[in-house]
């Protein structure tokens, strides 16, 4: 369990990091907190030729509020975001989802943008970003901002080009009268989600986002969904997903969780909104 040889660059600026990515091409990979990447390196599942470390770039860890968005740059650790004093009022869904991201130890190292870049189908941060219509700020030769739903293109696959790094992700600030809830079932607390559910309720409108089942977070909206319709709606949703069997859960169990955990989460979100 030793990595294959690679070069390492400690970038001093975003420009330096981006230029290194552009020069190296496909073999380059940004390393931030390393909580997924280092394990993959050690198992030789990933064999980048160059690692570009962005954790020492000035300003990379400063969270800011900008035009109704909470902007989280590339070097912000998950623990730092979770510990932000106003997070519960700013982005309550993140405050609910972040405690489910790994463990205290991994959150102390892992970054928010790193999780987004990794694009694990079970990732809570990715789910929250998609559920909230957040954006991914990419820096290549130019800069572009992609809606989260367009950024995640498949399991561990994103729309980022090889010469691009994530400069920040942004989450819209919560609006008055909107209720949020998040629930998850994993084998142990902190494990990869078998199913995770985020619900956002605003008036009659309801949004549900499901993680851990399809290759990317799935979002479903209803303009209204009364109590009698919930079970059927969730059953339709459960069967429409591509639930599969794996070592820890059956497809049927994943559908069960979409139905039962979905119902519980919708109820909690509506209570928060009321």
């Amino acid at each position: 369990m030793k990595p294959a040889p690679f070069d390492y660059l400690r970038a001093g600026t975003v420009q330096e990091a981006q230029a290194a990515l552009a020069a190296e091409g496909e073999g380059a990979r940004v390393i931030a907190g390393g909580q997924s990447l280092v394990a993959m390196l050690n198992m030789r599942l990933a064999r980048p030729t160059l690692l570009v470390d962005v954790m020492h770039v000035a300003g990379g860890a400063e969270i800011r509020v900008e035009r109704g968005q909470l902007v989280v740059p590339f070097a912000v650790r998950q623990a730092a975001l979770l510990n932000r004093r106003d997070l519960l009022s700013e982005v309550p869904l993140l405050a609910a989802a972040l405690p489910w991201v790994g463990h205290v130890q991994t959150r102390a190292r892992g970054t928010v943008c790193g999780s987004v870049a990794h694009a694990d189908p079970s990732a809570e941060i990715a789910l929250a970003l998609v559920a909230l219509d957040g954006r991914v700020h990419l820096r290549g030769r130019g800069a572009r901002r992609l809606p989260a739903a367009e950024f995640f293109t498949g399991m561990m696959q994103t729309a980022a080009r090889p010469d691009e790094m994530i400069e920040a992700v942004s989450f819209p600030l919560s609006q008055e009268g909107t209720g949020h809830a998040f629930n998850e079932v994993g084998i142990r607390h902190g494990d990869f989600a078998i199913v995770s559910v985020a619900a956002i309720a605003t008036g009659d409108r309801l949004r549900l986002a499901i993680g851990g089942v399809n290759d990317t977070p799935l979002v479903r909206d209803w303009s209204s969904l009364d109590e009698r319709q919930v079970d059927d709606a969730l059953n339709d949703l459960a069967w429409s997903l591509d639930a599969r069997n794996d070592l820890h859960a059956t497809a049927r169990y994943r559908r069960d969780l979409v139905r039962r955990l979905g119902r519980k989460t919708i109820k909690e979100a509506r209570q928060c909104a009321a």
Partner: protein, 979 residues
Amino acid sequence: MAFDTKTADVEERIEDGALLSGSAQFIDDLPFAVGTLHAAILRAPHAHASIVSIDSSRARALPGVAAVIDGTALAKVSEPLMVGVKIPIKCWPMAVDRARYVGEPVVVVLAEDRYVAEDALDLIEVNYTPLPPVIDPEAALDMNAYVLHEELENNLGSERTFRYGDPESAREAAPRCIAVKVRYPRNSCTPMETYGVLAEYDPHGTGYDIQANFQGPFSIHPVIARALKVPGSKLRLRTPPNSGGSFGVKQGVFPYIVLMAACARIAARPVKWIEDRLEHLTASVSATNRVVELQAAVEPDGRVTALFWDQIEDVGAYLRAPEPATLYRMHGNLCGAYDIANLSVRNRIVMTNKTPTGLNRGFGGPQIYYALERLMQRIAQELELDPLDVIRRNLISSFPYRTASGTTYDSGDYVRAFDVALNDGRYGELLSRRDLARAAGRIYGIGLTAAVEPSVSNMGYLSTALTPAQRAKSGPKNGAHAAATISLDPVGSVTVQIDSVPQGQGHQTVAAKLVSGVLGLRSKDVRVVAEFDTAKDAWSIAAGNYSSRFAASTLSAVQLAADRLRHRLARIAAGQLNGRPEDIVFAGGRVHLNGNPEASISFARIASASHWAPGTLPDDMDPVVRETAIWSPEELAAPTGEDGINSSLCHSFIFDFCGVEIDAVSGQVRVDRYVTMHDCGRVLHAGMVEGQIRGAFAQAIGASLFEEFAYGPDGAFLAGTFADYPVPTVLEIPTLDILHIETPSPLTLTGAKGVGEGNCMSTPVCVANAVADALAPKCGAVDLVLPLTPARIAEFLDAEPAAPEGYQPAAPTTGKGLTGRGRAKVSASPQAIWDLLMDPEQLAAIIPGAHGVTQPSEDRFSADVTLGVGPVKGRYKIDVALSELDPPSSALLTGRAAGALGMGEGTGHVSLTVLPDGGTEIAYEYEARVGGKVASVGGRLLDGAARIVIGQFFTALGRRAGGQRSLFARLFVWIGDGK
């Protein structure tokens, strides 16, 4: 009396300063010789395959690589490992010609450092021919099953039947026969520190010098020596000062001792190998999985008059020493805590394409009690009795007690322990909690378990696996020595050497406490050395850290040595104090005559007298500088001619009960309350006893709810990381109420019995019984398979609501491997697409990551490709054969891929249908299996990865086909697979 740590005798452990400050030295911390090479092991990705050829030329050419050693080279300097039962199979520590389990060593690379060694592994090409995998233990016994070992006619390693009392008559006389069939899964107690070996070979006479975090039993030492073809005296085996947990598992380092020692000899350089976690989970050692059919002849009141065991023990690919010990360790305890005089047993050992098994905490107990205690609950359910009454009516009530199969239970008071547990553990309250929960519509149940925990194994029990005739031929085997040495140095300080090879338990603390008590010293004045050295220590085959032998056995030897030393020192002191030896008192670091503490001499003066002034010793006395005691319990006799076996010396008692609730949303099992009553004889150190119980309980919760060494139907190993082998963390381990009574063992000098394995035996079945009770109101009697994962429990909850009308599954459900299907519309004719598919140059452009495609024959393609998902990429050789060609409409593709990350194989059916607009619909369906490293560490993502890689191919195909017509139009639309 509830066991309360606040008032209990909790003493600081000598070991903890170094452990807690990070200064403790483990195998990987030890200095090693100049010139030491670092080993890395290439392991089989297949469950079962012939090794056709190994090309290591590129690895050998890598700078820094010193040697590349395969099974053929190994076989030139060593012999196969001895097999415990008399069968002619060859157990090598590295595959020779054939690999029989995923993770089996195939090649060892020795290099300047581990990084280079692992780089070299990537350059070795092994050509395998896969053989049919044999995974299920029952299927392995099928007449048509492929045979793992060519020396045998089938996969049966051993079969024995036993009969004690008159079970058939008891069954005939009984009004009811009640049976269960259970499958116990594979799991392990996963020590924090993995295996490690430092090996040197001196060709000039001293032979092998090995340091390894081996834990014993040292009956393995002669097995290692014989495999390395040296007398035992030329195999020095030492253990490091600390070992990071073992729980039996580090017995399994011994094949690697043989392997690395042989490599050191071949390379003529010292070798160091540290196992990594993937290697450990995949291929270190596992507890056995077992299929048990257990039947009881039962009276109407629940009294059991006979038991009929039919056990199929799956030891994995090789019957590796000391197996089949897992099956026979409990042979004297097959009726558990119950007074049952008639017993019938059929034991079959089967070999399958899985990692070989070995010692693991509880060793044979979890498998036995899972069957026996599930049966006791089933008896209560079927006879509509209170399960408490069924247990109580069958409990053994007088001691010592001789079990049907010949073991003597040394002491106990099971009925009192049972009653005290129910009372002090507040069983009545638990019943009310269940009533309240059920009345509120919650899913709540109570489980019970009674178990006998054996300790201090009879080294002869394994020979019960042989027939009396075979035993007569090979000579009797029995006993369980313990050895301890106490030394006095020239300033009279005391050093104790013990034979128990602790792996974190705190043996030094307890041994120091005992010796200091006998000699009137403070604990901290006594140094206890636990590093083991076969070249210097007193030891026997029974030495080591297993069968909970320390408190009962090693400490008896320490007691014996301390008493003898005290007696001899008392004679020296009596001479100097002008008194009688029997009147000498040792206290406060001084020695005096009883009744005259004023006239005292320091302990150090008496203890150092033999060094400085042997002339002052009594005339008939040898100098007192060292006392070695070998303690040998005579009760541990060899098996009798009737197969009676006193398999263990001491027998502790456990009675557990618990309440669990099943979450109606998630199906997760939450242990609400757990009470465990122990009678482990005399408690020598309350804090450590509590630690042992809590540790075993934590691991048993893992076995109950989380952990399994899972294999795919093709033998792929699926639990290679702690994400897929989920050991419970502090958040998942429920609180535990511990109760004690004490009935000291009359057979040990300390009165103590084993305590460290009990909850590994009792807790999994106690939790399962509680879950079964929780499900009973809705489902009746249920069969449960561990671990009790929420997905398994969910099957018992509500029936699934039907799929909406028009539902079509995204993938065909063949139930085998990874499956998927997809469709694409392309604006090209079927013929154009067909032509692309049949053209290697075109394919080279279409196949993602292809580095060139060749066409060895009309209907075969080969390619070297880089495949992967996101950052996870690996280089593979792929071979694709085309068949059932129906140009330009359909074809069957059969493919195989192999690379450093693993291998896969699969079949795909492609059909091309012309569309009204002149375009084509490409439709495909595939079924694939993946093995090797990617399957072990990435199971959760494999399905998706297969879909992506296969999808990439058809995307590229469509793009290329369509691209010939119109470069700029949006050419195809994905319909399948959630796209």
